[in-house]
Point group: none
Chain length 224, copies 2
Amino acid sequence: MKDRTKLSERQRNILRFIESYIEQHGFPPTIRNIGAATGIESTSVVNYNLNKLVSAGYLARESRASRGLRLVKDANGKSGRRAQAVQPVTSTIQVSLAGPIAAGQPLPIPTDQVSDDLIDVLPSMLNGANPSDVFALRVKGDSMIDAMIGDGDIVLIRHAETARDGELVAVFLEDRSEVTLKYFYRDGDMVRLQPAHPTMQPIFVDPKVCHVQGRVLSVLRLTV
Amino acid sequence: MKDRTKLSERQRNILRFIESYIEQHGFPPTIRNIGAATGIESTSVVNYNLNKLVSAGYLARESRASRGLRLVKDANGKSGRRAQAVQPVTSTIQVSLAGPIAAGQPLPIPTDQVSDDLIDVLPSMLNGANPSDVFALRVKGDSMIDAMIGDGDIVLIRHAETARDGELVAVFLEDRSEVTLKYFYRDGDMVRLQPAHPTMQPIFVDPKVCHVQGRVLSVLRLTV
DNA sequence: ATTGACGTAGAACTACTGTTCGTCTACAAT
DNA sequence: ATTGTAGACGAACAGTAGTTCTACGTCAAT
């Protein structure tokens, strides 16, 4: 672990100032704020020392973002966090959380509503999908239990009209007029919808009456 | 006290976004950040709503300072929110991802190993648990399918020796010498372990031979 | 003496970001 | 129909703030 004594006087001052500034204001200072407070005339010098502090593991910076500073360790070297050199500053993505799935009702189109609940998800849960194509659905009831999805689970779905074999999709079945989540397979001229539970029988339907609404990217369950 | 219902949907979204942004980044978002996240095209509209939030007592702004925002009350109207400065807040929490569950093998103790895989999770998935008590487990095989947990799922578990009724726990069963995930209930002198699937029968075991390893906080599934 | 690493300066440059302003719509009151 | 208000939009503007570049001095190693 880096020793605090390796920091120069200036760097300690800077660190101390950032801490107190954040405490006072609720947001970090600018480079020029720091300079003024620590008697450094040149912004480049502040910048230089800031970068030093980053290397030493005390700070994280967001490039080009004004006030893009974050304390990682305090001036006493306490971090409470592990090695932390590569702490990925992963940002989360907000996707709209549509109301509970109601049987017999097609899934909502996410691009329309802007005003419903939002949840944060990790980019990794989107599997590379465009965030704007993705929406979340809170599952109500146990009708999806065959797909190992239970009451209260949140599923992330990427809008799609088509599906490939083996994908877990949300499909609207005309004859039952309901939406369910099933594994999708083409089987000759028909579509086979396979529940996850091995003891359950698959459903065979005509592609004409089976409308794929989207593909399930991931499932989130908080067992509260 | 101002009523939260006086805020428009947009304003609530904005507030929520600011909160999560600060939590993620350690500093507040810009007006344009907010707009992008809440679907507002115009900076002036964001500015307008920001001022509304200030009047409503949810925010404080520092004029002309970029990212000059500070939360005064959170979106639920709760103030007393600690100034949120000194503690570096990281967006995601890293928990160690232990190897696959192997039957007959007690769960590993997370505090020991430092060097195994880490995964990022959202703080919200920890349900307030202390991150250092939490570890992740990748489930192998379909033995947990009764608990709606399938092959490849990742479960977040908080270490615990005891459990309360209704909690989904990881238990080590001496007589079978295996670890499984089941819903935990005390039933007289015995412990009833209830599978999630309604058609499955519960297991009754003696508390002496049933060791709770931890409580499942959440389940994560990426349907790749 | 020469070199190179390190810290410091100053200033110019570019980008980022808050502010302002004219315009537009919807809706209720006049 | 007219007016007023709240909310929204987009573009332009100006102030703010990070980055880069050149230069200078110190100090230890060569």
